[in-house]
């Protein structure tokens, strides 16, 4: 009589040869998704609102921050990592944007909630003169409380 108990050999080691590939795929995913934001040189707390639309990220969008400078607490604008006074915005925009290219640009306004409308209106006046009429006021969603 033959041996009934045939040995079944089970391979116990998990193959790890494909591990680098998996990690590379993850890596590429995060490399694509990552958006580097410029460092904020100003302090701004966004106001809360409810009727919000999602901002479609686009490198063509122009981000304008308005708040108080972290260094000295003065009211300033930040544009591409540079600080400037509200009065200087028009000159800088004229330098940066070639005429006629600004029609479809969306301007994302990130404004501190304690700012007065005076400076907000000044910024809007400059944008209107430049033909940058599409704006989005960035806000926070209120935290749901029960």
């Amino acid at each position: 009589m033959k041996n009934l108990r045939t040995k079944i050999s089970v391979q116990q080691a998990i193959p790890t040869s494909s591990l680098p590939d998996i990690i590379f795929i993850l890596l590429f995913f995060f490399m694509v998704v990552t958006v580097m934001k410029p460092d904020l040189l100003i302090e701004r707390t966004l106001p809360e609102a409810k009727q919000l639309k999602k901002l479609q990220p686009d490198s063509k969008n122009l981000h304008v921050y308005l708040g108080r400078a972290i260094l000295n607490g003065q009211q300033v604008i930040q544009l591409d990592g540079k600080l400037l006074r509200v009065e200087d915005l028009e000159g800088v925009l004229n330098q940066r944007l070639a005429p006629g290219t600004s029609q479809n640009k969306l301007v994302v306004l990130e404004i501190d909630k304690d700012m007065s409308m005076k400076s907000v209106l000044q910024v809007q006046q400059v944008l209107r003169r430049r033909g940058l009429r599409k704006v989005m006021y960035l806000t926070k969603t209120p935290i749901q409380t029960l």
Binding site: L26, K53, K54, K113
Partner: protein, 181 residues
């Protein structure tokens, strides 16, 4: 004759570690964009053309003064939350009241701020006015206001629904001219 085989394999054992380090770096620096906000079209710079005459009943005047008090059609509104229903009644005018808009197409909401008002109040008021329009659109499209706002305009089916809800009810929120020095 013997051929010389001198192919040294590249040591790929540390590849996983390198990729891991890079991966962790991107993990830490990634902020998945969840920016949201209120979209508005700024008015054009007025030319020398005199502004079109608008009947008083078709104009819903909202004024924010420097003390952040809100005046709607000349009356003080204490609660910002009441603004939405006031605006909705003005736009739709379901009972055809003589002092409210003739029809939604001609209704215009005019928002005027003072130089001293705070940005927070301005955004809260704008939020209410937008909310009034979105609720009307959503009712027409028979979906919730949140679902209406999330409609994807690149999708032809959703775009059709969006346009259907908006026909005859343009979002006329106009920023009134404030003198800026």
């Amino acid at each position: 004759m013997r051929t010389l085989r001198n192919v040294t394999p590249v040591n790929a054992g540390s590849m996983a570690d390198i990729a891991f380090l890079l991966l962790i770096f991107f993990f830490v620096t990634t902020t998945i964009q969840t920016d949201k906000g209120i979209i508005l079209l700024l008015p054009q710079i007025p030319e020398d053309v005199p502004p079109a005459k608008i009947a008083d009943r078709n104009l819903f005047k909202v004024l924010i003064n420097s003390e952040n008090a809100i005046l709607v059609e000349g009356e003080i509104v204490m609660d910002i939350g009441a603004l939405k229903s006031l605006a909705k009644e003005f736009i739709a005018n379901p009972f055809q009241k003589p002092h409210l808009s003739v029809d939604p197409e001609q209704a215009i909401i005019s928002l005027k701020t003072n130089r001293g008002s705070s940005y927070l109040t301005y955004i809260q008021v704008l939020d209410q006015l937008k909310g009034a329009y979105y609720e009307i659109y959503a009712e027409k499209a028979k979906i919730s206001p949140a679902a209406f706002r999330a409609l994807d305009l690149k999708n032809p089916k959703e775009r059709k629904l969006y346009q259907l809800a908006r026909t005859g009810i343009p979002m006329n929120i106009s920023l009134a001219e404030t003198h800026v020095p």
